[in-house]
């Protein structure tokens, strides 16, 4: 099994979409090599615009290009590609309901060594709060391909959260995702572990650890954080009666919060939220997952504490 980063799907999928006749272009901000939108530029000259180190301009230019009938994907790192240009995303892209797909890479704590300024831990929350914006958090390379395809083929604003960290593959080629979509990857009866992105593979490994302790965990991949797959989440929570969410993102306003909003209104369920509560720090991505209790061991421990 090869480990791949979700960003590796980005440029590749855009090239495929152009080949299928979609009027797709990308706008990046001096990170076309890192995000892999450079692959689109190399394969399809004229389809990639690099504005330089100017994220606000990137989103504004993307908005303008979308008004010429193009499906526009943006780049940069998640921290800058959402935070630095938030007002452009909010007031121009979302309020005008434009066909702009915000798909920066290098999201989350697993960015690693670059440290706190480069680790976007609030992007799901910021994007989720915006009307008209849909939010997809793919768990692996194949899920990322599916997410980019969904964004390209459904009109209007999307946020797709892509990463640099190489993750074990959870899905095979047949995975298509959906809108909304949350999938049960492991059936269990004692507790639901709802994860997204990098945390899905960790949650599956945590379920293996828990099994040895006699805890039967169900693992749910929350592929679309907005809209939420309410039926799938309610069904799992109703069955197990306990929900632990995990994400490489702050617990204030992220996927866990979205699940908590749903359950508190429709099916109040005891919950624990695994995620970040501080800024990050510098270290290799896997070291940070362990340090902040976001690896399989950390998740398993959180589940045991929750059930105790």
């Amino acid at each position: 099994m090869t480990n791949r980063a979700t960003r590796e799907a980005y440029g590749e999928t855009l090239v495929e979409l152009v080949g299928e006749g979609l009027n797709v272009v990308a706008v990046d901000a001096d990170l076309a090599g890192s995000t892999t939108t450079g692959k689109l530029g190399a394969a399809c000259p004229g389809r990639l615009v690099d504005v330089g180190i100017a994220e606000q301009d990137m989103v504004g230019v993307a908005a303008g290009l979308s008004l010429t009938g193009r499906i526009v994907f943006t780049g940069s790192f998640a921290v800058f590609g959402t935070g630095r240009c938030y007002d452009q995303i909010r007031n121009t892209v979302c309020d005008s309901d434009l066909d702009v797909k915000v798909c920066p890479t290098h999201s989350g704590i697993t960015v690693g060594e670059d440290g706190a300024t480069h680790q976007s831990l609030e992007d799901i929350g910021m994007m989720r709060a915006l009307p008209n914006m849909r939010v997809l958090v793919p768990a692996d390379y194949r899920a990322a391909k599916a997410a980019i395809r969904i964004a390209a083929t459904n009109e209007g604003p999307f946020y797709v959260r892509l990463g640099r960290h190489k993750v074990p593959e959870v899905y095979d080629e047949s995975f298509e995702g959906g809108l909304p979509y949350a999938g049960v990857l492991r059936v269990g009866s004692d507790v639901t572990i709802a994860a997204c992105g990098v945390e899905v593979a960790q949650a599956l490994a945590a379920a293996d650890l828990l099994e040895r302790k006699g805890i039967d965990a169900e693992v749910l991949d929350v592929f679309s954080v907005k809209p939420l797959d309410e039926d799938a989440i309610l069904a799992s929570a109703g069955k197990t009666g306990h929900v632990v969410t995990c994400e490489e993102h702050t617990v204030r306003g992220g996927m866990g919060s979205a699940v908590a909003e749903l359950l508190s209104e429709r099916l109040p369920t005891p919950m624990s939220l695994v995620g970040m509560r501080t800024f990050g720090t510098s270290a290799p991505g896997d070291v940070l997952l362990h340090h902040f209790g976001l690896d399989a061991g950390g998740i398993a421990a959180a589940v045991e504490r929750h059930l105790a």
């Binding site: 001096d30 890192s34 330089g52 180190i53 800058f80 300024t117 480069h118 720090t281 510098s282 340090h291």
Partner: protein, 286 residues
């Protein structure tokens, strides 16, 4: 601290380059290109009398202030702090590892001498302007120095700050522009050209000097001249070579954010050592 002679500052710059390579090799990640291109500027600022500060007191707020706006050049800053004794061997050799004072990008909470967290480009000039404004309001004679990248100047926020600093006559503010014509995706002139940067800075109301950013004597003179010109903020456009001092990194965009392997680091260090022998000879000949 004794202000060093030009020949001695060249030696310091060589030391900084050596330490930049050593720490990047140890961390296996980080940014050599922009750290090396700024080494001579940093050496002059911190050791050649460019800045007036108390070397025994890192983070001292009563003297001149410095901001590294291009935060990815953190190794150049850490190398200077190491030379000053503000950081130890274990600090710089743990660059980018868990718990290190040497975070991937400078962090004021853990590293003495850092004013504010850096790493998000296009923020240092605004911070420096605020600092300069505050110092002026306090009738402080102290000056503010900020080091920016040329690619970084594509950020619109910089142009807001340029306008602001000129409007408020912040002649206690000096921006050093590490003008190496490279960013991540290629040459700045190819990605999104800054055009006639001197003319633009001048039109924004700044006094402008253009120098060879690897000539420490020229950096020294430009900094002195900036202290004399009253009424306007100062920009020093330092023409540099990204990766300067390590032949295989020079002028290569690919060395922006890639650490050298052990073999590459050894080659780099032996080049720097040869350069050092040459510079030592110069000091003797002085």
């Amino acid at each position: 601290m004794r202000v060093r002679t030009t020949a001695e500052v060249r030696l310091v710059a060589n030391d900084l380059r050596r330490d930049i390579i050593r720490m990047l090799e140890a961390s296996s990640s980080g940014h050599p290109g922009g750290s090396l291109s700024a080494a001579d500027i940093m050496a002059e600022l911190w050791f050649g009398g460019g800045m007036d500060f108390d070397p025994s007191n890192p983070g001292d707020r009563t003297h001149d202030r410095f901001l590294l706006s291009k935060g990815h050049a953190a190794p150049a800053l850490y190398a200077a702090f190491y030379e000053l004794g503000w950081l130890g061997e274990e600090d710089v050799m743990s660059l980018r590892q868990l718990g290190s004072r040497c975070q991937g990008h400078p962090d004021n909470k853990v590293c003495p001498g850092v004013e504010a967290c850096a790493g998000s480009l296009g923020q240092g000039l605004s911070i420096a302007s605020g600092l300069a404004l505050g110092l002026k309001a306090d009738d402080s004679p102290r000056r503010v120095y900020v080091l920016c990248g040329d690619g970084e100047m594509q950020e619109g926020s910089n142009w807001e700050a340029l306008m602001f600093a000129a409007h408020h006559g912040l002649d206690n503010l000096t921006m050093l522009l590490d003008f190496n014509d490279l960013q991540i995706d290629g040459h700045v002139t190819d990605v999104c050209s800054l055009g006639d940067i001197e003319a633009k800075l001048g039109a924004f109301g700044w006094s402008v000097q253009t120098i060879d950013g690897h000539d420490v004597g020229a950096v020294h003179l430009a900094l002195e001249r900036a202290k004399d010109a009253a009424g306007r903020p100062h920009a020093i456009v330092c023409k540099t070579v990204k990766g300067k001092g390590v032949s295989f990194m020079e002028g290569q965009a690919g060395w922006h954010g890639k650490a050298p392997s052990h073999v590459e680091a050894a080659a780099a260090l032996s080049e720097l050592e040869a350069e050092r022998a040459r510079l030592d000879q110069e000091v003797c000949d002085d």
